[in-house]
């Protein structure tokens, strides 16, 4: 098949069709959503904020070795016998290699990605702080949760849950 030799529609269609296509889009519903008020739920595998279960963690250090960004440090915790990983979210790239490597499955992903801070230190989460975070704490404005679906006419947002409770 050769470039310009392919048959194109006639001149009038080449001028008028674009206009019609553009105008028809006015009838479509928007694909955007109002983010701080409406939030899209992640999928089951979504890689976000990582939580640590200190009861099962054996402090083996495999996660720290696997981490490509050198974002995991180890600190002792009072009253416990191992050193536990602390995650520097300023360096973390959410690749999930630490979660995959963990031999006791103590690390787990959540779909939370709203991790901002005014200082760099706020992004470093010590072992005791790596607990599940309720989304209301980091995103107080959120009203509704949506999920994305695919219908015959294109992608659609469907209401997953009303209210701020996740």
């Amino acid at each position: 098949m050769a470039g310009s030799e392919v048959k194109r529609p006639g001149f009038l269609a080449r001028v008028v069709k674009p206009f019609i296509h553009v105008a028809r889009h006015a009838l479509k519903s928007p694909v955007t959503h109002k983010y701080p008020f409406e939030r899209i739920k992640g999928f089951e595998r979504t890689r976000g904020y990582i939580t640590l279960n200190m009861d099962t963690c054996i402090g083996c250090g495999a996660c720290g070795y696997a981490c490509p960004d050198e974002a995991i440090y180890f600190f002792p915790v009072e009253g416990r016998k191992y050193t536990y990983p602390a995650i520097d979210y300023g360096k973390c790239s959410f690749c999930g290699l630490c979660v995959e490597t963990c031999p006791t499955a103590s690390l787990a992903h959540t779909d939370l990605v709203e991790l901002a801070g005014y200082k760099y230190e706020e992004l470093v989460y010590m072992p005791s702080e790596l607990k599940p975070i309720n989304i209301k704490e980091v995103l107080p404005e959120v009203r509704r949760f949506l999920i994305t679906t695919m219908t015959k006419d294109g992608p659609k947002y469907i209401l997953f849950k009303e209210g701020g409770e996740d």
Binding site: E70, Y73, D88, G90, K91, Y120, E121, V124
Partner: protein, 158 residues
């Protein structure tokens, strides 16, 4: 593999040939002496049809005191990749540029000049490409380039 092509390369390179191998069907590794590179390259292009440059660069071997340069060339007629190599002295690396044979290696050679410090004679535009224009801290891709000052500056932030 590719014995007939290897034979033809052997004959056209003559004494300049150092090493030749073809570990798999679509790759031919040819190593020649540095002063014959342009000559061999031109004959490879004209007689065997290796015409499209797809990569070029170099590797630093501080123990052997050489920098090994390579040019990877694809042939649009026989659909194989030839990797032309040569070794230059590490202390004053300098070689004839291959831009007159394959214009497309211009940017690759410029990058190698910048990051490995190999001087390409006859290259039309040897000026900084990726690094800042006032870069004086050495050649980053050489093995003795020290990353410690940069780690101290940028690496550990807590």
């Amino acid at each position: 593999m590719n014995e007939d092509i290897l034979d033809r390369i052997r004959s056209l390179a003559g004494e300049a040939l150092v090493e030749i191998k073809s570990p798999e069907d679509k790759r031919i590794y040819v190593k020649v002496k540095p002063d014959a590179v342009v000559d061999v390259a031109r004959r490879l292009k004209d007689e065997l049809g290796f015409d499209m440059p797809i990569s070029a660069g170099g590797t630093d071997y501080p123990k052997k005191k050489v920098i090994e340069l390579f040019w990877a060339i694809w042939s649009s007629t026989i659909n194989k990749v030839l990797i032309l190599k040569c070794e230059v002295d590490r202390d004053s690396p300098s070689i004839e540029s291959l831009t007159s044979v394959w214009p497309g290696v211009q940017k690759f050679e410029r990058e190698t000049w910048e990051l490995l410090g190999v001087d390409f004679k006859g290259h039309p535009r040897l000026k900084p490409l990726l690094l800042p224009e006032d870069w004086t801290e050495g050649y980053p891709l050489r093995k003795d380039f020290d990353l410690k000052p940069y780690r101290a500056k940028w690496g550990d932030r807590i």
